[in-house]
């Protein structure tokens, strides 16, 4: 057991899996000599050499498109897109190619690329180093979308992604890269893709969250506990395919739902969760579902703290559904 932060957990997992699987190749901007701008690939170039850790030209469609070609050949490419905000030149490659190869070829050609990219606000990064646009990828059949919130899950989910036969978007919450630390077993283990985690048991209200927002939710829950509200927190962990069983069993238990994400509210992932609950568990609900989300504006700069969901906003939502 070692105490690691999230970015260290990424680094250790990549190293462990690269030792086990010589087909894994990392590629991207600054991932080699520099070890990545967030140091996620630190030391790996030195350890595995330039054929396993490749500094590429500055071109996201090239990084992803070339990764697809490498995967067609049987390698396991793990491209890093420096910030999710910069992925859009490669969006066509993700939407039109990565997500559709298995389907359009009748299963003949598969491209199990794992795209790692830091996402999310809270680092004073303004529009282009802060956004949470996971919903674009959840809206793309053929992709799996995974977001860890703890070092333990980072290792377990990334290990699972690196062994998965399908393309995976592995979104890393950069705000908590270094602030969240925890015990990580040294042994090999996987956290299965598609399984949520009940991060805290409770009876009165369920809060669904993922990524950095899990920790905001946990903070809010302590405030709620002080007011006598016992909140269950579900860390979704995988957005596609999401864990409907865990979602519904928690809703059936509490009947009151708050969904937290930092992405824009309209058509954010919370809308899907709310719709699923409405379709499947309407009569278990004791209050309207409430979403606490980023606002429907471009990501701000100086007013970032006002944009980001915080414990008080989540607490207000918890009280609202609780007192309905």
């Amino acid at each position: 057991m070692t105490v690691l932060n999230i970015v260290q957990a990424v680094n250790h997992t990549l190293r462990d899996e690269m030792k086990r699987n010589d087909k894994i190749v990392l590629l991207g901007e600054d991932v080699g000599v520099n070890g990545g701008v967030f140091r996620a690939t630190e030391g790996l170039f030195q350890e595995f050499g330039p054929n396993r850790v490749i500094d590429t030209p500055l071109a996201e469609s090239g990084i992803i498109g070339v990764s697809i070609g490498m995967a067609l050949y049987g390698l396991k490419p793990v491209p890093e897109i420096q910030f999710l905000d910069f992925i859009y030149p490669g969006f066509d490659q993700i939407q039109s190619e990565l997500a559709k190869f298995r389907y359009r070829s009748g299963g003949q050609f598969t491209v199990p690329v794992v795209i790692r990219t830091p996402y999310g606000g809270g680092i004073r990064g303004s529009h282009y180093h802060s956004q949470s646009t996971e919903a674009f990828f959840v809206h793309t059949p053929g992709l799996k979308v995974v977001i860890p919130a703890t070092p333990y899950d980072t290792k377990g989910l990334l290990t699972a992604a690196l062994r998965d036969p399908d393309p995976v978007m592995f979104l890393e919450p950069k705000k908590i890269y270094r602030t969240v630390r925890g015990d990580v077993p040294d042994d090999d283990y996987m956290v299965p893709i598609g399984k949520a985690n009940v991060a805290r048991d409770g009876e009165d209200v369920t809060v669904f969250a993922y990524g950095a927002m899990l920790h905001v939710a946990m903070e809010a829950v302590e405030l709620a506990a002080a007011k006598g509200i016992n909140v269950e927190v579900v860390d979704l962990r995988t957005l596609l395919p999401f864990d409907i069983d865990t979602i519904l069993s928690s809703v059936k238990k509490t009947g009151r739902v708050v969904i937290v994400h930092e992405a824009c509210k309209t058509c954010g992932f919370g809308a899907e969760i709310a719709a699923q609950i409405a379709e499947r568990a309407l009569l278990q609900l004791k209050a309207p579902i409430v979403r606490v989300a980023g606002f429907d504006v471009p990501f701000p700069y100086v007013l970032e703290d006002e944009y980001m969901p915080n414990a008080n906003r989540v607490l207000n939502a918890i009280e609202k559904v609780h007192n309905f």
Partner: protein
């Protein structure tokens, strides 16, 4: 003359010609099938037969081909059977792609012919990635990627060429400059003197070849392939040709180009030219021609007769192959569709 003439046996020359004839007839029949409402869509290679046959013939079995969407001739040369191709045209239950792609967006893993897509130029970085992977693994594998003049305006042309230059990948970029991207002429794609000249900016060689001369194409591609295999890096080849047919079954080229222009290129028809060459070498006769035409049509007839009687792909293929295993939500949607279908049939 003899110095530049490639060393190809008489039988092989005749085989290449017969393939070009098959491809021409397949094109004519394919468009007819669409017009008759028997297949949904058609996109052909009329006038570009030399490009496809000449280029694909220069590859070895371990090499990979990345088509755009007109390269069914290259697939046939690499070993796809007409029966398989026709199953794809009819998008039936025997189609290996399970009826999921428009006509001629064909792929077959056993011949390393990668399933294409309709977005333009996206396959170019794939070809570079596969070549880079082979290079990393130390395998003597070359990739060849097909695209048109229109594709050279796309980001992925630039990014693919750039990665190939930087990593010196064993990639042959084969641009069929057929002069028209639907209705837009090549002059609207670039103000560069040629497309081939663009390679200079990426640090490797670009060459131009007569795209209606199958032997010149073969020779040019073979040189590029051998250079790539020896570690000499990528080459851009611009094959200057002409799309004699419509862009697709949905296009009417009389709206944007002249009859005179078409007639000028019809006089340079790659099949007529190759036939004259074979006749001059006295290895092709009138009776050979008749037999080649008859055989091609017979083979196409048989493939159509077979493909047309095969049913549509099964309902569950709507949901399979999205992932390696079907996740719960697709299982649920499949069940709902099956129940809905069952209710209708009651």
């Amino acid at each position: 003359m003899e110095e530049i003439e490639p060393d190809i046996s008489k039988d092989e020359l005749r085989r290449l010609y017969r393939l070009m004839v098959l491809l021409r007839n397949l094109d004519i029949r394919g468009l007819q099938l669409q017009r008759q409402g028997r297949i949904g869509f058609f996109i052909g290679s009329l006038g570009q037969e030399a490009c496809q046959i000449g280029s694909a013939y220069a590859l070895k079995p371990q090499d990979w081909a990345f088509p755009a969407y007109r390269e069914i001739g290259a697939a046939l040369l690499r070993g796809a059977t007409l029966k398989e191709v026709m199953n794809q045209y009819f998008a039936n239950a025997e189609d290996l792609q399970k009826g999921r792609q428009l006509t001629n967006l064909y792929g077959l893993k056993s011949i390393k012919f990668v399933t294409g897509s309709a977005p333009i130029a996206t396959q170019i970085p794939h070809a570079v990635g596969t070549a880079l992977a082979a290079k990393i693994r130390g395998d003597p594998v070359v990739t060849l990627v097909y695209f048109g003049d229109g594709a050279t305006s796309e980001n992925d042309f630039h990014t693919g060429m750039n990665f190939a230059g930087v990593f010196k990948t064993p990639t042959v970029f084969f641009c069929q400059n057929n002069h028209w991207a639907i209705s837009v002429p090549v002059e609207r794609q670039t103000s560069a003197e040629t497309i081939a000249v663009k390679a200079k900016a990426y640090g490797f060689e670009g060459v131009r070849v007569d795209g209606n001369d199958v032997l010149a194409i073969y020779r040019t591609v073979k040189e590029a392939v051998e250079k790539a295999r020896k570690g000499g890096g990528p080459t851009l080849i611009e094959a200057v040709t002409y799309r004699m047919g419509p862009h697709s079954s949905s296009d009417d080229p009389t709206r944007y180009r002249t009859k005179e222009e078409l007639e000028e290129w019809q006089r340079r028809d790659p099949i007529t030219r190759f036939r004259k060459y074979l006749e001059k070498k006295r290895i092709w006769s009138e009776s050979d021609e008749k037999k080649a035409q008859d055989d091609a049509n017979h083979e196409i007839d048989e493939a159509i007769a077979h493909a047309e009687k095969i049913p549509r792909p099964a309902l569950e293929t709507l949901f399979t192959d999205v992932y390696s295993d079907m996740p719960w939500h697709l299982e649920e949607q499949l069940r709902e569709l099956q129940e809905e279908k069952g209710r209708k049939e009651e």
